[in-house]
Structure formats: structure tokens, C-alpha cells
Symmetry: C2
Subunit: 500 residues, 2 copies
């Protein structure tokens, strides 16, 4: 069954490319005419770049996806992007738009020999209005650079990710990146106000409005948010930044039982109200791994002993003394309750402790990769089911005889309670077909049973096209295909991604 499915996938991938053409020497010659010399990398003549110089473009950062593109183009202006796309459209040459190449689902590397259109050379801020907080920037601007750009104006970007030092805003929008600030500032569908997009025929769609409100017809830009470059190339982004909070604080709480997570979330939401900016779940296994691999130790052994899981709460507000008072009152309320929801809690007393508490949460990823090979599932399910999903997966692996030191070592969960987003990690000694077969479609079926999402924030890319039906109905997928066909009838934009 699996091999039949794989065969079908190979076939559909072949079909996608059957009407498309590879780049030729004459195409490269054309690109050298319309772009400056430093903007064209190609192993083909007349440029003849050494193959290894294209490796970083052909491979994703995890080393999991690898393409065979001969040609990387790095235009400097929207007009250059338009010229490239027009040419590729006429010649039916497939294109992969590429930002910082930090995605987790293989969306930004070629499946075969597509042209890689890198936005790295488009990295100028076009405008910033400190009154409204609206920033307009080239798609290739790195998220951290934008964060630094607005900081002197007392503003912050409405999103923050681990990859902020290399991911680009255009890529963030294309994958509809979620990240650590979603609970507070909402999704990019709300904060992106306008886009400039080069459509698959080379036409420039200018919807780069810097208006907070514009109710004039269909909100087309929304289609490109999360389309992973399959409907066009985002070249410019208008985004609403937020006033920077004046004070941030955090606390880690140890819970005797997972059952307390949801009641705790309700209590914390009510008491901290508008200053609550994160409510992160870490199960015992994840915590232990983080400590084992030196990602910090927030609590004493005794406190940890009786705990089934942990919650990291962050506040961000306008006045430190008010925020501290709210947080202290919350802790007092929690600890002095008749039936306390928590065993104990540690409040950050200074910036160093604040960072070390976050390090514990953010260090889980690194700890997992130090411990073994990880199967990572980024799913949306109701917060109340987080433990059940982890336990069911573990039990299933045990029933298959796969839960032991030579196969799966740990099954763990952590994630964003406020967003209903669970990161389910299965840590194995090695990647094996048996474990893969035990996990899929098993995990996706659990997700579907909760009407959840098989991809909460990572996107579909090349990795999850086959899993789409677990989260989207046939009617939805058929409509998505029609939209793709409407925008890109020749199928040149990032072929084989999102839709099989």
C-alpha cells in the first residue's frame, strides 16, 4: 500500500513537470542581459558557476531536502523579478521563490531543476510611519533587521521566530509564519496590510497599501499569505508593527497533573488579561531532556519530582510595577488556593533569569536533536487533548514493539496552549521505515479525529502535500486547485508544493 502510494506520488510529481522545461544556456544568456553579473549564478554557460556554490540554495537548512537547480537568480528590483518571471512564463521554466530558506517542510528548495529565484538582494525598507506603525519593506528584508529598524521608534515586529536572524519577511508571509507572538499580536492575515506580488505571468500586482482599513472588494493579498510561493512571488510587504512593550517578565510553573493546564490557562488569562503574551506548555519528558542537555534548570529536583508538566507564562506590558504587581498577585492566588493548580512557581527576578526561563522552553528543540533523530509533528488540536495525543502516540508505538532504546526512545510534547498548537516529537535512535509507517497516517488520523490541523504553522511545502486531505475537505482542495489554475495555468510557480 505504501509503495503504491509512493508510486502515485512519483507519478504525480512527474506529471507536474512534464510540461515544463529546464533552463538552457540561452536562457542563462538572457538572464545575464537583464540582470547585473552578481545576480546570476549558474552552472550553465556562459556563467559556469562551480556546482558547490549552488549547494546552499539547493539544500534546506536541515539537509533534508535537496534539489538540482542549475541556476540561481538574485534580482535587485521588482521590475527585474517581473522580467525573469515573464521569461520563465514564456519558456515554461519552473521557478522556486526562495527567502531565507529556513522553512521546515521543503517549500523553498527545488524538487528537480527549477530556477531558484532568491529575494536576498531585495532588502531595503521602503517606508516606516512611526505614527501608525506601518512598515513597508522589500520581501528580502531579514526579520531581525526589521526588528532592529523599528526598535528606535519604540515598535516591534508582530512576529518573532527562532530563525529570525536569517528568515526573510517575504518568506514569513509566504509560509504564514506563526511563532512566539501570535497569542498577543495575532496572525499575519491580520497584520499584513498590503503586498506587492509578481504574478506567474510576470504582471506586477500592486496591493502595497499602507492603510489599516480598506474595504474595496476582494482581499486578494490574503491568498498569497501561506501560499508558499505557488501563486506568485511576493516582492514587497506592508505590515502593521506594534508599540514595543515597556516591560516583560516570566514565570515557570510546575503542575501536579496535566488536567490542571486548562483551568490554569483560564485563571491566568483572567488575571493577567491584556499583558499575557505567552502561555507555553512543556511536558515532563521534554523538560527532562532540556535539563539533561544543558538547556537550563529552573526548578529544584524536589519541585520537579511531583510535576507532570510545566507552563511558562510571559507578560509584556506598558509599566513594570503594574505588571509585577499583577504577576505577584497571580502567584499568590495560585499558591494559596485550597486546591492549588500548581506545585510551585519560579518568577524571573532579572533579565538573566528571564532569558534562562525562555532558554528552557526554546532549548527543547536543541535537546531533542542532541538526543536522537526526531520525527516532528506541528499540529493544531484542542489544548485539553495535548497529553492524550502524546500518550496515544506513545502507546501505539509500544503496541508495535517500537518503544525501546533501539527504536523510539521518547515521545514528548510541548507547544503553545493559547494557540492550541502542539509540537509532538518522536525521538528515535534512527529514522526507519517501520517507525515512519507506525506514525503515518496514525498521527494525521488522530488530528483529523479532533478536526485539527496537520500543519499549525510550518505549512505544507513538499513534505505534507499527501496529508492535506486530513485537514481540508475535498471541496476545499478542489477550490484550491482552481485558484492555482487561475493564477498559474502553466504551473511554473513552485511546482509540486502545497498541492500534489
Amino acid at each position: 500500500m505504501l509503495s503504491r502510494r509512493l508510486f502515485a506520488r512519483c507519478l504525480s510529481s512527474r506529471r507536474v513537470f512534464s510540461t515544463l522545461n529546464p533552463v538552457t544556456d540561452s536562457d542563462v544568456t538572457h538572464f545575464t542581459r537583464i540582470l547585473s553579473p552578481s545576480s546570476v549564478l549558474s552552472t550553465l554557460s556562459p556563467v559556469s558557476t562551480p556546482h558547490d556554490e549552488l549547494d546552499i540554495y539547493n539544500t534546506d537548512w536541515m539537509g533534508k531536502y535537496r534539489g538540482k537547480s542549475t541556476t540561481v537568480l538574485k534580482p535587485k528590483t521588482t521590475e527585474e523579478v517581473s522580467e525573469i518571471v515573464k521569461w520563465c512564463h514564456d519558456k515554461r521554466i519552473p521557478i522556486v521563490p526562495q527567502g531565507g530558506n529556513t522553512g521546515l517542510v521543503g517549500g523553498s528548495v527545488p524538487l528537480k531543476d527549477e530556477v531558484i529565484l532568491s529575494l536576498a538582494n531585495m532588502s531595503n525598507v521602503r517606508s516606516f510611519d512611526p505614527v501608525s506603525g506601518i512598515l513597508v519593506a522589500d520581501a528580502g528584508c531579514i526579520l531581525q533587521s526589521l526588528t532592529d529598524y523599528v526598535a528606535p521608534y519604540d515598535h516591534i515586529m508582530p512576529l518573532d521566530l527562532g530563525a529570525k536572524g536569517s528568515c526573510q519577511i517575504g518568506g514569513n508571509v509566504s509560509t504564514n509564519a506563526g511563532g512566539l507572538r501570535l497569542l498577543r499580536y495575532g496572525s499575519l492575515h491580520g497584520s499584513v496590510l498590503g503586498l506587492e506580488v509578481v504574478l506567474p505571468n510576470g504582471t506586477i500586482l500592486d496591493q502595497l497599501t499602507s492603510l489599516r482599513k480598506d474595504n474595496t472588494g476582494y482581499d486578494l493579498k490574503q491568498l498569497f499569505i501561506g501560499a508558499e510561493g505557488t501563486l506568485g512571488v511576493i516582492t514587497g510587504v506592508s505590515i502593521l508593527t506594534a508599540p514595543a512593550p515597556q516591560a516583560s517578565n516570566n514565570v515557570i510553573l510546575a503542575l501536579p497533573t496535566f488536567d490542571n493546564v486548562v483551568p490554569l490557562f483560564k485563571t491566568v488569562k483572567r488575571q493577567l488579561s491584556e499583558i499575557l503574551s505567552a502561555f507555553e506548555f512543556i511536558d515532563r519528558t521534554a523538560y527532562n531532556l532540556a535539563v539533561k542537555h544543558g538547556q537550563g534548570r529552573a526548578l529544584s529536583d524536589e519541585d520537579v519530582e511531583g510535576a507532570e508538566c510545566f507552563i511558562l507564562v510571559e507578560t509584556s506590558g506598558g509599566r513594570r510595577e503594574h505588571d509585577e504587581e499583577k504577576l505577584a498577585d497571580l502567584l499568590e492566588h495560585l499558591l494559596e488556593a485550597d486546591k492549588p493548580l500548581i506545585n510551585t512557581g519560579v518568577l524571573a527576578q532579572n533579565p538573566a533569569q528571564f532569558s534562562s526561563l525562555w532558554a528552557l522552553r526554546e532549548g527543547v528543540t536543541e535537546a531533542v536533536s542532541k538526543e536522537g533523530k526526531a520525527y516532528k509533528y506541528d499540529i493544531s488540536v484542542p489544548a485539553a487533548t495535548f497529553k492524550q495525543v502524546v500518550d496515544t502516540t506513545r502507546d501505539h508505538l509500544r503496541s508495535k514493539g517500537l518503544l525501546n532504546e533501539d527504536a523510539v526512545k521518547h515521545v514528548l510534547g510541548y507547544g503553545h496552549v493559547g494557540d492550541g498548537n502542539l509540537h509532538l516529537n518522536i525521538v528515535a535512535k534512527a529514522y526507519t521505515p517501520e517507525i515512519q509507517a507506525a506514525l503515518e497516517p496514525f498521527v494525521y488520523e488522530i488530528v483529523a479525529s479532533h478536526r485539527g490541523s496537520v500543519s499549525a504553522e510550518h505549512g505544507i511545502g513538499a513534505m505534507k502535500t499527501h496529508a492535506l486531505p486530513y485537514s481540508k475537505t475535498e471541496v476545499s482542495i478542489a477550490l484550491m486547485r482552481k485558484i492555482k489554475e487561475l493564477f498559474d495555468p502553466r504551473g511554473i510557480m513552485n511546482p509540486g508544493k502545497v498541492l500534489e
Copy 2:
């Protein structure tokens, strides 16, 4: 020129309807078979409802738009909506979806004799999760009912409008309603999490997910937000409600000059940070009219005398004493500055005063309608240009000899500074073709010169289809047409609205 344009509009309206059919007796017979008797109102046989019973459906609340529909259908389930739409699709009968019929641009009444599909009988809450705050409701639920429904759970709807007592959530989503809470809770593109839509061929598109995060392909639901029923009938809405603030307060500030509005906004944003929930602008003319027509008087005559305009600031936060301290500090800072941005300010001391300050701002609309006939423009322009836009319009009318007691009596502005949304009102003795011709396209050209929006929050409807090119490029409008064609190739859904 104007008459040629009008002629072209009549022609295009005729063309829209040329392939569509009116409802016949046999259609009505069919509808009586698939719906319960109380769900079919029709002047045709075999139902034979008296004509005047259809008036409230055929006419908008302002009495400005009037259709000639013979038939109103009020289905009770999504399946019934689907059956109706399938039938109309097969028979090429045009449909106007209708919610509370409170729109301002004629989007919810027929242009001719379309079937009116009222959602009024679909008014059940389907689910509410007090942990995540996610509410799933039938499209016909009245906004106020939903506000009341979530109140006991300490949550509020993310939008609030003057029409809340009769507008429906499906209509709110269809027009992408903005309203009074947008500054704080963002637009519906961010807070609507899922939709159930009956497509123009009768197929049910179920994207009624109740997930905060779902990155699985194109976000199709976004297209229906603000499509004003031209792409399908919204039958269900999943929306993120917000934790209710524990305390609200407000203050009205008198400014010596408009030039201080923007610096004041920056100061207030910085000092009130996350508790700022409204920053409303009222110019001197608007204030005077509100006072004249008994909409409250917040300030003494002396304070008003030196003021060019007024700002209403609202806070909503989690703890009253913290919020009051922040607001008191702000006022002290403002009044004790070397060059004060304000002349004076009045802080609400109790709930009655809180309401009366809001009454002043909200009463402008009523005062305007008491004073004369109002030409209303709901536009997005940079906040710094609000006064200039009002003054330029007034000067233009004066230069045309139209600024006098027998023509235009007042030109005034008020609106949401934080959203860059100006309500420009021209109060005349009567509606006349001369005034209309002096205002349009003049006002739209001003908007276009600022790259603004000709409709910040009211939508396009039947009223502004001709003004669309002032805010959208040809490429955008062409793509909108293709989307319309893709979803509704027969053109039966709300014909003549949004797109000419």
C-alpha cells in the same frame, strides 16, 4: 461626461441581468416544497404574500436603495440554503443574501427582482469554548445576541458597531465590518477563524474550523470576508472572541490646533500602551453640531472656545486602579508640559460620564442627520491629512459657490485616528445634482492622491462600484473579476454589487 458614465452604468447593469431569469410561480412552488411554509414569502402564487410585507426586505434602512423582489426565502439550515442555491443556479435566478440589512452601501437589497435569501432564521450558537474563546455561530446570529452569549464567560466579541442590535454576524463578515474595537482587536481577517459557505452552485464549503492556527494551503475563507455575498452565502462563522476587559475609562481632550493630533497620538500610544482601546477625532464643526442637537456637552464654553478639535481617548484594561493611574499620569504629563498639546481634558468620573463622553462622539451621526441632508464619505487617508481633506473639500465647495445656507451648510470630519479612517460629512439643505457633481469625483481624487481607500469600512455594495478604480489598480480589478468568474460563472450571486 457624467451622463455618458451613467449610461455606461445602466448598460453594464443591464448586461449583468441579461442572462438571468426572474422567479416564476413554478419556482415558488418548488421553494414551498423544500422549505417550511413560514420560510417562503412571495407575491407570486401559490404563496401570494401581500406586497407591503416584502418592503422591509426590498428597502435598506436608510430608504436609499429599493429593489423589486417578489420572493424572500428564509431557510433554517445550511442544507436548505444549499438546496435553494442549487435550484437558482440551475435556473439562473439571481440571489441577494441578506443579513440584518444595516449596510450603508446598498449591498444587501436587490437591484431588480433577485430572490432575497434572508439568514434571519439561522440564529443558533453552534459552540463556544471558554478556554480558547472560539465561538461558532450561524450566520444569522445578531451581533448583540452573541455579545450577550459570551458575556457570562467573561468574553467580548472582537467587533462592535452602532447597528449591533440588528446586524448579523454573517453580514458583518461579508462586509468586513470595522467598527469601534478595530484599534484593539484588529480586523475580521485576523479574528475570523473559519467559515461555512454555500458556493454559487450550491456546494457547501466547510471551512468552519475552530483552530487558532491552520497552515494547510490557501486561506480561501479570506475571499468571502468583504465579498458582500458576491462569491457565495456565508452560513456559519467561527470567530475568536477576546477576554473581557475588567475596567474601561475615557477622557475628552480639547486641542488648540489640529497639528497636535499626531504628536498627541504618539504620546498617548506610548503612555497607555496595551490599554489604549480608542483614539477618536472630532473636529470643531462636528463637536458644535453634536452639542447643538443635544448630544451632550463635555467641556465648558471657555474650554471649547480656544479649541480647533477634540480627541476622545478610551482605555480598557485588566485592573481599574492600574488603568486609572496610567490615565491620570498621562493627563498630568500633558497638562504640565512646557508646550502643552492640549488646552484641557475632562476625565470620566463614573459610568454615566463615561457613557456621556461616548454619546458626544457617537451622537455626531445623529446630529448631522438632524441638521440636514448628509453626503457621507468613509475614507482611509493618513491621519495627518484629516484636516487638510476637510478644508480642501470645503474650499472647493466655496469656489463653486455652493457653501451657503441654501446649499452646503457644513463640511466636517470625525473618525478613527488610530485606523487612519476619516468620516467626511457634507451637510446640505437638500441633495442636489450640483453638490453631487462638485463632490464626485473630487473627493475620490483626493483619496487617490493619498493612495487612500474610497471605502475604509462600509464596503462597495451598489453605491461605489464606479469608485473602485480610485483605490484599486487595473490589475487588481481584473483579478477580482477572474475570481468572481471562477466562483460564480453564471453571475447569480448578488449581481451588480462590488464589481460593475
